[in-house]
């Protein structure tokens, strides 16, 4: 027996993943674990994230989480990526606990993206 496993928000994000896709020449990371595969692209200018895109192979929660991340971080300082934590995302998407591992893959990807996109060496550019 089951009730709807997807919240309205997950359904909306999954239905219209506006940030699905890639960015040529942007910082890119790919993490593959827990049976899911996530690739993130960040176009960073002046330590600010101008554009985010994702590609994902995984369950609806994984795709929705990737989309939610992209939608939420465009326009923010790249340094924010280093503090990214999935707990808010888990809650706002009502991700079931047994899927925590998959969502943590996104956390990994986001943090790598932070390093990759030069969050460590901000002042320099």
């Amino acid at each position: 027996m089951s009730t709807d496993p997807y919240s309205k928000r997950v359904r909306d994000l999954f239905d219209v993943p506006a940030h699905a896709g890639s960015l040529d020449g942007a910082s890119t990371v790919e993490v593959s674990d827990q049976g899911v595969r996530v690739r993130l692209y960040a176009a960073v200018v002046d330590a600010e994230i101008r554009a985010l895109r994702f590609q994902a192979w995984g369950c609806p929660h994984t795709i929705a989480a990737a989309e939610a991340f992209c939608a939420g971080y465009e326009g923010r300082p790249v340094v924010d990526l280093l503090d990214f934590s999935v707990s808010d995302l888990m809650q706002s998407l009502s991700v079931p606990v047994e899927k925590t591992g998959r969502i943590l893959v996104i956390e990994d990807a986001v943090r790598s993206l932070g390093s990759e996109a030069g969050a460590i060496s901000i002042p320099d550019d």
């Binding site: 027996m1 089951s2 709807d4 997807y6 359904r11 999954f14 993943p17 699905a20 896709g21 890639s22 790919e30 899911v36 595969r37 996530v38 690739r39 590609q55 994902a56 192979w57 995984g58 369950c59 609806p60 795709i63």
Partner: protein
């Protein structure tokens, strides 16, 4: 709920709507004076209930070319499978402790055998060929002197694949092995002649054939040595094999559904084959698509397809408003890849991407076209999202 709008139900292998005539017969019985009496009662009203039940038993027996006395009413195929397998193995425990079945059976069968394994019976679990069909030579090789019961399903609930129960039964009969068939997916859909078939026990259920949920039957052949121990005790109904007040409205519903199925089986089969073929010809050219089972040896109401590089859960959501199944509906709350498809040799990933489309009497060609379009779009969308595909 918005969910209620515009669903396209293509999960007739999981359950079917009750035919309007069946529902009508059930309603009449439940409320009309004299028909709701307990069939165990000896008074005139009770005898009327008995009459309704006898007529329904005749209808079901007529569908299967057997006699009404050979049918025991149960709460569904799950209980029938349990009664046949646990009850049969117990009844015949002195004949040996070896049992044979397949890995691709329904959970009601496999879990009954697992319980028997816990009771120190010895079960051989046969794998099918890659197309889902049991190889007869492999089957024969598995039989031993102490084999006392074999259970092989007729139509597989996930793939629609048909097993050759006539041949398997003939081999069992030669060796005096009890032969049980789970026919939950075939009764009322394929021609079954129990008078001619070498089958000892057969499980069935009404809700897969436009009858009500919660009523099934077990056929017990009229042959020496063919019998089962009861699982439930009390009341003495049904020769003590299955006590409990007989649910007359349910039984009448099953009977009416059987009667309708008999009269339109041929027509149903032709329509379903046309729908299935149209669906398959609409999707077979998709890169990486694979048919699970054997389209030439299947009940045409079921088509199961896997597809490479697609995650199953997302596929299912992308397919909405199509109501379709991954794996067996009876088991689909779990996210495990289908053990049936694994037994056919599919990888975890392919098994997990499998979708069972099952068609029914209400399904139209337009529905199929809609489903084809939706399936293609969903695959396309998920592939475009996935890493590794050029955007």
């Amino acid at each position: 709920m918005a969910e209620q709008q515009d669903l396209l139900y293509l999960d007739y292998a999981a359950s079917t709507p009750v035919d309007a005539r069946v529902a009508q017969a059930m309603s009449a019985l439940m409320t009309s004076a004299g028909s709701y009496a307990n069939p165990s009662s000896t008074h005139a009203a009770g005898r009327q209930s008995v009459g309704h039940i006898a007529r329904a038993a005749d209808q079901l027996a007529g569908l299967l070319n057997t006699r009404a006395e050979r049918l025991i009413w149960t709460s569904g195929a799950t209980e029938s499978d349990n009664l046949a397998i646990l009850g049969g193995a117990h009844y015949r425990r002195d004949r040996g402790r070896h049992l044979v079945s397949m890995r691709t059976e329904h959970k009601a069968v496999t879990d009954s055998f697992s319980e028997l394994e816990r009771q120190a019976f010895d079960v051989t679990w046969l794998d099918p060929e890659a197309n889902g069909v049991l190889d007869i030579a492999r089957f024969e090789a598995a039989l031993r002197d102490d084999t006392q019961l074999v259970s092989i399903m007729h139509v597989n609930n996930e793939t629609g694949v048909i097993q050759d129960i006539e041949k398997i039964g003939a081999i069992c009969r030669e060796r005096e092995i009890l032969f049980h068939v789970d026919a939950a997916q075939s009764v009322g859909k394929l021609l079954i002649d129990l008078d001619a078939l070498p089958v000892d026990l057969m499980s069935m259920t009404a809700h897969k054939v436009y009858g009500p949920k919660g009523i099934g039957a077990l056929y017990i052949a009229d042959r020496p040595g063919v019998h089962v121990d009861p699982l439930l005790f009390g009341g003495g109904q049904q020769h003590r094999l299955r006590p409990g007040t007989l649910p007359s409205q349910q039984i009448v519903g099953f009977g009416a559904a059987a009667d309708i199925a008999r009269s339109r089986m041929h027509e149903d089969l032709e329509r379903l084959a046309a729908l299935r073929d149209r669906f398959w010809s609409g999707v077979h050219d998709l890169p990486g698509i694979l048919l699970n089972g054997d389209i030439d040896n299947s009940f045409p109401g079921i088509l199961n397809v896997s597809i490479e590089d697609i995650e199953g859960e997302s596929l299912l959501l992308a397919l909405e408003p199509l109501c379709v199944a991954t794996g067996s509906a009876c088991n689909s709350a779990s996210q495990e890849p289908s053990y049936v498809l694994r037994a056919l040799g599919r990888s975890d990933a392919l098994a997990q991407s499998a979708v069972r489309f099952s068609f029914g009497r209400p399904t139209s060609l337009m529905d199929v076209d809609f489903a084809v379009e939706h399936y293609r779009n969903a695959v396309d969308k998920l592939r475009r999202i996935a890493p590794g595909h050029a955007a």
